[in-house]
């Protein structure tokens, strides 16, 4: 009788576990096919990280939809292991190219995912919101999948560009991006919950999402973390450009768009701090600004020619 009950109660988890195993196999096949070449330790680690992000995503979604706090707690640990495994990927790549391993699109997306997860885990220390996990973990997973699909080429850095500023520049820039991505997530959730409260619809979504005050706080915290990072990213970039090419600013498309995005975020932060913007307006603004950021990050690199296209890093 007792055993029968146990089985019934843990049915959900058993089902989940089976589904995870299945997806795990599927994903491994996809990754192996995408790579085609022989599996190297890096690729294995990469696949492991992706799988861990996948498991964490499912756990967080379970926690949110099924209202199971335990799943969220487990998801946090899985994500922690994932972020460590992911760090190992970069460590191995670093030794392979003997330089900062963030030069190709593949590496950039993967590094973005790593920053996102890292920042989320730090944010989680304060807010403990499994709902944010249900945004951050799947986002990281998507980035990893896109990263796996883009060609994995090891690009040795152009000697002109070799500098201690390079790792600093990309770390600041990507941490800023990740923080803004989280503030975007919180902003979207804010707008949804605000709409639920205003239209007086008390559905599932209303029950799942946290209070608007908390979402506003998360949005603000991420903004106030992301802005200094972005600023430092731009400054280090300028200094590095001066070292490499002898000019701080050359109105390269990336620089222009980054500046526009920076002004948007500066405006938002200013509005929040002095005019007292908050809530809907701030959430909406952070969503728009993130669209600009996405364009700066991906659109500019892929559409325009300039210093930041991924090919420029390679040897002339």
């Amino acid at each position: 009788m007792c055993c029968a009950d146990w089985w019934k109660r843990s049915y959900f988890n058993v089902e989940l576990f089976a589904r995870l195993c299945y997806l795990n196999v599927l994903l491994s096949i996809v990754i192996v096919c995408a790579e085609r070449e022989t599996m190297e330790p890096v690729t294995l680690l990469f696949a492991l990280t992706t799988t861990l992000y996948l498991v964490a995503s499912l756990l967080y979604l379970t926690a949110m939809i099924g209202k199971r706090e335990n799943a969220g707690r487990l998801g946090r640990w899985v994500l922690l292991v994932g972020v460590v495994a992911h760090a190992a990927v970069f460590a191995v790549r670093h030794s392979m190219v003997s330089g900062t391993p963030v030069t190709s699109l593949h590496e950039s997306l993967s590094f973005f995912a790593w920053c996102l997860v890292l920042l989320f885990l730090l944010l989680d220390l304060r807010f403990r919101l499994s709902v944010m996990g249900a945004f951050a973990a799947p986002s990281a997973l998507c980035l990893m999948i896109f990263s796996a699909l883009s060609p994995d080429v090891v690009v040795p850095l152009n000697p002109v560009l070799r500098s201690w500023l390079f790792p600093l520049h990309i770390s600041f820039a990507f941490l800023g991006n990740a923080a803004f991505a989280l503030s975007f997530g919180a902003g979207v959730m804010y707008l949804i919950q605000d709409r639920m409260l205003k239209s007086k619809r008390f559905n599932r979504l209303y029950r799942m999402l946290p209070s608007i005050n908390v979402l506003d706080q998360v949005n603000y915290t991420c903004l106030s973390v992301g802005f200094p990072f972005m600023t430092l990213g731009i400054i280090t970039g300028a200094v590095w450009a001066n070292l490499a090419w002898g000019g701080y600013w050359s109105w390269d498309p990336k620089e222009t768009w980054a500046l526009i995005t920076w002004f948007l975020y500066a405006g938002l932060l200013h509005g929040r701090l002095t005019v007292g913007w908050r809530g809907r307006r701030a959430a909406f603004f952070s969503i728009v600004a993130f669209m600009f950021l996405l364009f700066t990050f991906l659109g500019v690199s892929l559409l325009f020619n300039g210093y930041h296209t991924f090919e420029v890093f390679s040897m002339p």
């Binding site: 009788m1 109660r9 008390f202 209303y206 209070s211 608007i212 007292g276 809907r280």
Partner: protein, 434 residues
């Protein structure tokens, strides 16, 4: 042994009937004694709340006892059975167990999942224990009912959302502010509902209460009861920017709070969210206020909407709860069935064993000089005969599921073999012998 329930509830009887049949707490001792004096009733219990009056009894004769309890219910309140019976429900055996488990788990309540009923049944059981009218069966029955109720409470979300208007307001406030600590509540007008909601808010951590009313003295007395501050009605609008949650219930025919008031307050409080609750009919707050950014305006109907949504959610959870109840009913029923059958089986075995021993001794003494081996053979043969004869009836008795059938078979066995059954516990009344 069986459980019988006779009673009425808000679902079967109007309040005029319910108030007539309610048992007073002072008279419970006498009533329980009267119940135990009824024929075939071995244990008894009385539950009497404003929404239900029920009699529980443990008995070997459920059908007769049902009728007896119905008559008792009517007679002890000076009513005729003809008046009362249409409102009464009676359950016996498994149905009775299920009914009581559902009642205790608050699945049969007017507001499904409300927590009071469990306490009320515990009190009723306490009375029965004090009066020694609860014995082996009811003790176990009640403990199983309580543990089933606990399982329902912990394994389903049946009681996790607000189903009263004033508590729904608190729930909403927490979806806006997360924590209510250090928040300020203002009461505009001193309605009863306002007061109740304010009490809930204070219990959830609201630290400051402002009260305003057209008659200042009324505001002062109300403010005192919350440890709050009274504000002059003429200039309460100047305080609006300090208010996080506003409850309004004046008797004014026109709007008391206009969009311009709130807009000004919002600016002053740097667009921190505001939660406005308009309990008054006609409304006090201009509905246009609800369109302002980060201002959430709810009127009575909206709060009712929250309650309705939550009730629907509870109904969903109630389905899960019914499954838990099913499991628990089955478990208790197994125990009860065992309790009923075992004495008969034991008595039957004893009876036949006695016959066997007697006849064996007689045969052995008349046969005279037998060696040990032959004696053992005879002994083994006779006990094999007894076992073979008993095998089928025993299995049949154990397998019988329907209570009435079982009772009939048990009666038949007892009559056919002239068995006298020892009751399983001392505090059970003596069973009649046929």
């Amino acid at each position: 042994m069986n459980i019988v329930v006779v009673g009425l509830s808000h679902k079967t009887a109007p309040v005029e009937i319910r108030e007539k049949v309610a048992f007073e707490a002072d008279a419970l001792e006498d009533r329980l004694a009267q119940l135990l004096a009824l024929p075939y009733v071995s244990e008894a219990m009385i539950v009497s709340t404003c929404n239900r009056v029920e009699l529980y009894a443990a008995t070997m004769r459920p059908e007769q006892v049902c009728v007896e309890l119905q008559r008792f219910m009517a007679e002890s309140h000076g009513l005729t059975p003809a008046v009362l019976n249409p409102h009464l429900y009676s359950y016996a055996c498994q149905d009775a167990v299920r009914h009581v488990f559902r009642v205790t788990a608050s699945l049969d309540s007017m507001v499904v999942g409300e927590p009071q009923i469990l306490g009320q049944i515990k009190t009723a059981y306490g009375h029965a224990c004090d009066c020694k009218s609860a014995g082996l069966v009811l003790n176990r029955f009640m403990h199983k009912a309580f543990s089933a109720a606990k399982r329902v409470r912990t394994e389903t979300a049946i009681a996790s959302s607000a189903v009263s208007v004033s508590y729904a307001a608190v729930e909403l406030a927490r979806k806006i502010f997360e924590s209510l600590e250090n928040k300020t509540v203002m009461l505009v007008g001193a309605g009863e509902m306002c007061e109740l909601a304010a009490k809930h808010f204070v219990r959830y951590g609201v630290s400051k209460v402002l009260v305003t009313n057209r008659t200042y003295s009324r505001a002062e007395t109300l403010a005192e009861s919350f440890g709050g501050v009274a504000v002059n009605f003429a200039n309460f609008r100047e305080q609006l920017h300090r208010v996080d949650i506003l409850l309004s219930s004046t008797g004014s025919p026109d709007y008391v709070i206009h969009a311009a008031d709130i807009k000004a307050a919002c600016k002053l409080r740097r667009y921190e969210p505001m939660f406005l609750i308009d309990i008054a009919v006609p409304r006090d707050i201009d509905p246009a206020v609800g369109k302002i950014d980060s201002v959430y305006l709810y009127d009575v109907d909206d709060l009712q909407g929250v309650v309705q949504a939550n009730l629907k959610e509870r109904e969903k959870e109630a389905i899960k709860a019914e499954e838990i109840i099913d499991q628990e009913v089955l478990r208790f029923h197994e125990w009860l069935a065992n309790l009923t059958i075992r004495p008969t089986i034991v008595a039957l075995r004893k009876q036949l064993e006695g016959v066997r021993q007697k006849e064996l001794q007689r045969t052995l003494s008349s046969l005279g000089n037998l060696d040990d081996h032959e004696r053992k053979m005879l002994d083994a043969m006779t006990s094999a005969i007894v076992n073979k004869i008993l095998h089928h009836p025993t299995r049949l008795l154990k397998q019988l599921n329907c209570d009435d059938d079982k009772l009939r078979y048990l009666d038949a066995v007892q009559m056919l073999f002239d068995l006298s059954i020892q009751p399983p516990s001392d505090d059970m009344a003596e069973l009649p012998e046929d």
